[in-house]
Symmetry: C2
Subunit: 142 residues, 2 copies
């Protein structure tokens, strides 16, 4: 597990809330990491149509509206996978044993169902929800 997902959400909130395209250096300053790590993440987001660069301007902008960008899309982009992978199935079960022979397809099916449920929960949340959460805390402060 790494923190690419949470760093990507942080970067996208900054990009979305900024009035000007943001550079990787500025984003890295807020996320608390280095610019090359941010460029790596933004590269993955760009590949998935989440951010874009504007010709002649340095920095990145958000392509979809925050309310249309789900956490699932961000998760898929930074993890380079369509389907979240939350389980590791043991590979060497003994095919000569009835349980050992049949367990792989049974657990694969069951794990896929659980991963689908997780993906649906991720798809129900958007970048706009994260931004709203931060705004609420700001309002409560004042």
């Amino acid at each position: 597990m790494d923190n690419k997902f949470s760093s990507a959400i942080h970067a996208l909130i900054l990009i979305s809330e900024s009035e000007e395209p943001l550079t990787s250096e500025k984003i890295a300053g807020s996320v608390g990491t280095n610019a090359s790590y941010i460029r790596k993440i933004i590269g993955l987001l760009k590949k998935n149509g989440i951010t874009e660069s504007r010709r002649g301007v340095s920095g990145f902008v958000l392509k979809p509206k925050p309310e249309d960008l789900t956490l699932l899309q961000i998760y898929q982009a930074v993890n380079k996978t369509e389907h979240p992978c939350l389980f590791d199935l043991h590979k060497n079960s003994n095919d000569k044993c009835i349980v050992g022979y049949h367990i792989k397809p049974v657990l694969n099916g069951m794990f896929a169902e659980l991963e689908d449920a997780f993906a649906r929960a991720l798809a129900e949340k958007t970048l706009a929800d994260c931004i709203r959460g931060i705004r609420k805390r700001l309002e409560a402060e004042t």
Copy 2:
């Protein structure tokens, strides 16, 4: 990610379906691993009241009924945690930036909600469901 969870389910199906207490050596033979790895897993299951040993008999037996044993209980036991941890939050966000300052509690809350949804999905499945899946495949074969 390791395969303790899927190995534990495999071991528990064997223990549940066996008419006699099963030793770690026999379980390891079907799971395709070594007996000490199985003993480590069974130790975690025993600590959580999932398996037990019978006095004077070598081997392990299942304590709850398979229909009462949820995949969440198995997951919690082998991962030594009450709450599934699926996300890693970046720790060094800059407190001097508004987003950097407020993102931690916002993402912590959001990630906890997603982990809860995953836990609920795990709690809806039982060891009996896994056993049923294997029996169905066996019936389809004959």
